[in-house]
């Protein structure tokens, strides 16, 4: 007995872009319900019994894949994981072909991760089941932004009038883009803190403030959101060395001292300790909510799957 599917009017969850504050709140409220349930003895339900969820991952990811798998299973759905190596196949043709093939098997939801921006949207145009974007290139990663929001809301009690600093490899980060969109939509202020080479062109037009100096950027922040330095996505020299990066832009106690005393430390994982974050800060139980983010990930994905599959069922699985 979930909320009425009419409240979430989209057939897919491709990004935060286009979601209203009401729709975001709806997903988060439902996720909060699952967060509590997940801590109880009775973690599973049969809300999605009979449904099939396919996790189609074109990029390696243990954490997100596991999180989606667990979410679907806790709702009683049947889950299939497909990890498609990007190097072994001719990518594009396979994307559409695989989509069509999977679609012919009538799944209820496809959870897709792909290394190219826009690939998940392209795929969603070719299928008639619900599509969840589990990360496309450097474009969006909506469930990550939602789980971050849920984590923040649980600690701060709100998502508006907060100062959030997103720090690090903005240029290669879909997490940053989704978070900027979500936090702006909910009425918080976002600052980006990174060396100039990791700030994409004209990003200030998305309604953010830009800082290159970390101490300045963290001043009076409520939330410090660190990003993983995506060395594997870097073509060319964005930073001189990891050592230099950590020196200027890695989060340590000294730099953190500029933020509010109760500022939360977040990281989408997996962390590069000693690159963008010091272990001492990452493991600080008073401040770091990094493990809770992982926990909320399952809850948010349960909520998203529930809403989308129910929507899809309501539309009669129109073939």
């Amino acid at each position: 007995m979930g909320p009425a599917a009419d409240d979430y009017p989209h057939p897919h969850l491709l990004g935060i872009e286009g979601l209203t504050p009401g729709e975001i709140t709806l997903i988060l409220d439902r996720a909060q319900h699952y967060a509590e349930k997940n801590r109880s003895a009775d973690k599973t339900s049969n809300i999605l019994a009979g449904a099939t969820v396919v996790n189609l991952f074109y990029e390696n990811s243990t954490r997100t894949l596991t999180s989606f798998e667990l979410a679907a299973k806790r709702l009683g759905a049947a889950v299939i994981n497909m990890t498609v190596g990007t190097s072994s196949v001719k990518k594009g043709e396979t994307l559409i072909d695989t989509a069509m093939t999977l679609n012919a098997m009538n799944p209820d939801a496809l959870v897709v991760r792909h290394a190219d921006s826009g690939a998940v949207k392209l795929l969603s145009e070719k299928v008639n089941c619900a599509v969840l974007n589990a990360g496309d290139g450097r474009h969006e990663h909506p469930t990550q932004a939602l789980l971050d929001a849920l984590t923040i809301r649980r600690h701060k009690g709100r998502l508006h009038r907060l100062n959030v600093a997103i720090c690090g490899d903005i240029a290669h980060s879909r997490v940053a883009r989704s978070n900027i969109l979500l936090l702006n939509t909910m009425g918080s202020r976002v600052r980006l803190v990174a060396p100039p080479t990791l700030i994409p062109s004209k990003i200030e037009r998305m309604g953010v403030e830009i800082f290159h100096d970390m101490e300045e950027g963290l001043k009076d922040c409520d939330i410090v959101m660190m990003l993983r330095l995506q060395l594997e996505r870097m073509e060319g020299s964005f930073i001189p060395s990891v050592r230099e990066y950590f020196h200027f832009h890695g989060l340590d106690r000294a730099k953190l001292a500029n933020a509010k005393p109760d500022a939360l430390i977040m990281h989408p994982g997996p962390m590069n300790r000693g690159v963008e974050i010091d272990s001492e800060v990452a493991d600080d139980v008073e401040r770091s909510v990094i493990r809770e983010q992982v926990e909320m990930g399952v809850a948010v994905r349960m909520a998203a799957l529930e809403l989308l599959v129910q929507n899809h069922r309501k539309m009669g699985g129109m073939a």
């Binding site: 994307l95 921006s117 826009g118 690939a119 496309d136 474009h139 969006e140 994409p200 062109s201 037009r205």
Partner: protein, 440 residues
């Protein structure tokens, strides 16, 4: 409704009651032309129903425009090597519908047109097909690899009208210097794709807010102007003739404007994409709007219009680049760049006239006389007496909606898909033969 392509018998024909656009005489007046076999024997306001001598079939155009057939100085015909995307025959049919009678084909085929046999192959195939007159660019470097210079003199002698490395930038300053310098002895022209290759590596659209939002790697519009600026120094150094293809940014227009004032032998063209569209066409990852150079900002688009109007931009070319469905139906970063252009070249260019930026005669001049002069093709881009009867007859006002699936080109990748436009070709004649007649 597929328009039929046919070649009517030649003979003596009089086209009268036409709005005659003569880019050589620079006149725009009512008149007509007389054609005997393959040649225009008389042209001008004195050709009227009363003045037509006996024995001529009289065709009253009812006020439609008559101009030289369009001369398209930048197009990819994909033959040899990529016949699944376009052939000289399908390209010729598509060009006929677009009113194009002369095409200069890029050399980036497989094999590359970097030897005499390649130039002769193109000429032979085009003659056999018997549609648009096709001339070849010779490659500047062997295999368009940007390393060693081709036998430019021999290629020129065999009929290569100018030289370029296809869609590649001639990146090596040394190579470009040699090509510019060497080609002066036969008055050859080098055509550059101006895009600094290192800066634009891996980029799939114009840099800026939209690229950032879409999470796509952008290339700065400055990659274009910095290539132009370096190349201008080489023109100065060598005295060679350099032409910049499909310029797309305001900075490029500005720099070329200044260079021309300084008296440098430099010219440029642009394509309809760059004066009719901006980067917003990409939104939602529309791969048909993935072009090279990429679509730019609205400010750049307006600067291109201004550059055309003030004469800085010499010519308009279609930049016809056919891509099959499989090359476009991909995630944006992986999709091929390019758009087909033959069947939209005239109507989109006419928007410059309809929007009041240029006179009809000026638009036609940039599509006919200027490109013909740049590549030194005699008898093209003119309706003077004694020249081949390569002409286009069109209604400049007729509205229609662009539907690439009605195109005759083998490929349908048009970024103008669904656009409402004005101006339709009614007839296209090559050497007096009607190769396209509207409605037939």
């Amino acid at each position: 409704m597929t328009p039929a392509i046919r070649a009517k018998g030649t003979g003596k024909k009089a086209f009268i009651n036409a709005r005659l656009l003569d880019p050589v005489a620079q006149t725009d007046e009512m008149g007509g032309i007389l054609i005997e076999d393959a040649t225009i024997v008389k042209s001008g306001s004195t050709v009227t129903r009363e003045s037509v001598p006996g024995g001529f079939e009289i065709i009253d155009l009812g006020g439609a425009c008559l101009a030289p057939g369009l001369v398209d100085m930048r197009a990819q015909l994909r033959e040899p090597g990529f016949e699944h995307q376009e052939t000289i025959e399908t390209a010729g049919k598509s060009a006929a519908i677009g009113g194009i009678t002369t095409i200069i084909a890029l050399p980036n085929t497989d094999p590359v047109i970097d030897d005499v046999a390649g130039v002769e192959f193109i000429a032979r195939r085009a003659r056999k097909v018997g549609l648009a007159k096709v001339f070849a660019y010779g490659a500047v470097s062997k295999g368009i690899e940007g390393k060693e210079i081709t036998e430019m003199g021999l290629l020129h002698q065999a009929g290569a009208v100018a030289f370029c490395d296809g869609i590649n930038t001639i990146a090596s300053a040394r190579l470009l210097r040699q090509a510019l310098s060497y080609s002066t002895f036969f008055d050859g022209m080098i055509v550059q794709h101006p895009e600094e290759p290192e800066l634009s590596k891996g980029a799939s659209m114009n840099s800026g807010e939209l690229a950032t939002r879409l999470g796509l790697t952008g290339v700065s519009p400055l990659a274009e102007v910095m290539q132009i600026e370096r190349d201008l120094r080489l023109v100065e150094m060598t005295g060679g003739r350099l032409h910049f293809a499909h310029i797309s940014t305001g900075e490029s227009v500005e720099v070329i404007r200044k260079a021309k004032k300084r008296g440098l032998k430099v010219t440029c063209d642009t394509a309809p994409f760059y004066f009719a569209l901006n980067e917003n066409s990409v939104s939602d990852y529309r791969t048909f709007a993935k072009l090279s150079p990429p679509l730019r900002s609205e400010d750049d688009r307006q600067a291109i219009v201004a550059g055309l109007a003030d004469g800085t931009i010499d010519a308009i070319a279609s930049d016809h680049n056919p891509q099959d469905v499989d090359s476009k139906r991909l995630p944006f970063a992986q999709a091929a760049a390019g758009g087909v252009g033959f069947e939209t070249l005239l109507p989109i260019s006419l928007e410059l006239y309809h929007n009041g930026h240029m006179s009809l005669l000026d638009v036609i001049t940039k599509l006919t006389r200027v490109p013909a002069e740049l590549v030194r093709i005699k008898g093209a881009g003119t309706i003077a007496e004694g020249t081949p009867a390569d002409i286009v007859i069109f209604d400049p006002d007729r509205p229609w909606k662009i539907d690439p699936y009605q195109f005759t080109s083998k490929s349908k990748n048009s970024p103008f898909d669904g656009r409402m436009t004005q101006g339709r070709v009614l007839r296209t004649l090559i050497d007096g033969r009607e190769v396209f007649t509207e409605g037939n």
